[in-house]
Symmetry: C2
């Protein structure tokens, strides 16, 4: 038995215990995790400083994700406490009926079992993933980016101690203690022990993982997010929503990438939108129609409509009515998050019914598509899969269900 196989086996044993552990005990473990983390604060910061020193040659954005400063540390412990306080998602009765035969049938939420998280060098994902997994009664195997290994080792040790002190199996939280990438290959072979893999990172990485394993994979692909601004939209609200959707954080999956503006909008509105974007340092790549009405924009190529920039670039297209907007989104969108800005409830309802995305928004920033702003608390990511979990993945999405049927001797006729 390899080291990784043994790790899988231990996770499976822990999952069996977790399945029937009381909600209070899991909540207690989460609070203890926050407490233990606070105790280890200096150690965490020291380990992270070593990780940061080793990553000195890497990009600023990489280092930003890797860094655990006071703010990030506070965020990590707070998320553990928030998870503890959330309503429990295990054991909920999702459906219940008594059949004419007298058979009482219930559909009850239960943990999935063992979940493997494979993610970038972002230490806060280590604690977030452990929080969401434990909240939903799952054992978790964590594999963070190699560059964060020192930090993660301290975090995992602290969390495991807390779990044990709460009277739960410490193997509920395990970290793959190596930077060796072959560990991932080995991990993906453990279909006997692992029920679900959640990879986070680039599209090609996720695709490679999904195609290299028999274990179900919950995929977090890109967000080519759109806002369609209808002809009747209030220009002021539109400007605010567009700027927030695009600029609040350009590097995330729910940032705006393509703006669809109805050709009926007055020139003044188009100009205001372009000005506001430029003031925020956004490069505009636009279709001919938009460029004819607002001078000074770069031309968009066909490729632009299919690009997730994650950068200070926005593509803009003029469309003639909602129908054209919906077709553009169907053809070029990634089914992540798409919105409409309009004063018409009827238009909004049509858009919501026909746009087939994980999140469809009306008069709201695309940046609100996510766990916190939907009231879900801690999440491990935003799924672009259609099955099982779509959109934000929190504790409820890391549960499955079973059917429980209680009778007094009922037979099949």
């Amino acid at each position: 038995m390899t080291e990784i196989e043994e790790l899988g086996r231990r996770a499976r044993v822990a999952a069996a215990d977790l399945r029937s552990a009381a909600p209070e005990r899991r909540a207690d473990a989460l609070n203890r995790m926050a407490g233990k983390l606070a105790e280890c604060r200096e150690e965490v910061l020291k380990a992270n400083a070593a990780d940061m020193a080793a990553a000195a040659g890497l990009s600023t954005s990489f280092q930003k994700r890797l860094c655990v400063d006071d703010k990030v540390f506070e965020y990590m412990t707070r998320r553990l406490q928030e998870a503890a306080a959330l309503p429990d998602t295990v054991g909920r009765i999702l459906e219940e009926r008594t059949m004419p035969s007298g058979l009482q049938v219930k559909r009850v939420s239960v943990p999935i079992g063992v979940i493997a998280m494979i993610y970038e060098a972002r230490p806060n994902v280590t604690t977030d993933a452990a929080a969401v997994a434990l909240k939903s009664g799952n054992a978790v195997i964590l594999k963070g980016g190699a560059e964060s290994l020192r930090t993660n080792l301290v975090l995992a040790r602290a969390m495991r101690e807390a779990v044990r002190e709460a009277g739960l199996p410490e193997d509920a939280v395990q970290l793959i203690p190596t930077a060796d990438r072959s560990a991932v290959t080995e991990l993906l072979k453990q279909d006997r022990y692992i029920d679900l893999v959640i990879p986070r990172g680039g599209k090609s990485l996720i695709r490679a993982i999904a195609e290299g394993t028999r274990i179900p994979v919950l995929k977090h692909y890109d967000g080519i997010c759109h806002q369609y601004v209808a002809g009747d939209a209030d220009p002021e609200m539109a400007v605010k929503l567009i700027v927030n959707s695009k600029c609040q954080n350009v590097a995330v999956c729910n940032a705006l990438e393509t703006l669809l503006l109805d050709a009926e909008l007055p020139d003044s509105a188009l100009q205001k939108i372009a000005d506001a974007l430029r003031e925020n340092g956004i490069e505009i790549r636009a279709c001919e129609g938009f460029r004819a009405r607002v001078p000074g924009c770069l031309p968009a190529s066909e490729e632009d409509w299919d690009t997730e920039y994650l950068d200070k670039i926005l593509s803009i297209r003029l469309v003639h009515g909602m129908e054209e907007a919906i077709h553009h989104i169907a053809e070029h969108g990634s089914g992540h998050t798409d919105g409409i800005i309009t004063q018409s409830e009827e238009l909004a309802a049509g858009f919501v019914a026909r746009v087939d995305s994980a999140s469809v928004l009306v008069n709201a920033s695309t940046r609100l598509s996510g766990g916190g702003d939907y009231g879900m608390g801690a999440v491990v990511g935003i799924s672009t899969d259609r099955l099982h979990a779509r959109g934000p993945v929190g504790p409820a999405e890391l549960c499955t269900y079973k059917w429980v049927a209680v009778g007094n001797g009922q037979l099949r006729k």
Copy 2:
């Protein structure tokens, strides 16, 4: 574009229309399908007679599944009508809240999109699958066993006509019009158009399909179903439940395969159980402990505990307490359906909490684990997967959801 690719493309177009079709229209289509089928009755029976004649050399059980007699025909049309009458599963609000920001957040059930069903030569699956798919607003591509092609062609033509007459796209229901197996290989490549594949048949076929495609596969593996009879069980009820679980239909996935009897049960109870099984023509393969107390049984090998007989054979093991029963099920079960027979609510609750199967039953026949007896109406099968759908797969399980968030200018802070 190959013929199969074109079929996928047409299904995708139909799915986009179905997504926003009114529930009444889909129900109307289902009722019309039943009516159209009745009109084509003679033609269906004639085509099936030709299929049956060509299958004359095949096994009795194969022919039994292929045959459409009056009873099967009546069943097929009734299931379409029943599906029409079921509550609609599309557009249900699964969750709803207003955030402090004023953002109204809803999780709404929506169709998955395009579903491909690959199944044996069982014409009733053709109509059942179309019924469940259309009920849930999905377009379906049907690929039944080659031996049923003549029957299926008539059924599909009738159903497509009905769908068209109801004002919906006839491509909501498509049949692969060939017996050529390479069509399946081609079908499994259409990940651009197909959202979910549901294969039914042998374990090796399902595994081959799951490993040969990028499309998510909902798996229906075997049912190694158990009943654990606790020491306090009422022997009379136990005998009835065991006989029904095992004998009502031995060839199905929710038939009993292994009986776990508590060693505390009196000899008289063990003897009664063995006698009743033998009277029903069941061969018993038992552990040493059971054979020492009830003479005349064949010995069970280690392999027996892992075997889905689908035949008039039952393995029996004496266990010392519920703990041992739960461990046996965890080691040898397939997570399909497992039951306990007991008079103790406490024991039952412990068993339900700790046995990790799609269906866990208390004092009920394993044969009740399924759509109809759970009040779900038409189902396309019983999933042994843990994710998305577990247990019976009906219209609700062929839906996914999307998040809809309605605001009035909310921004991310």
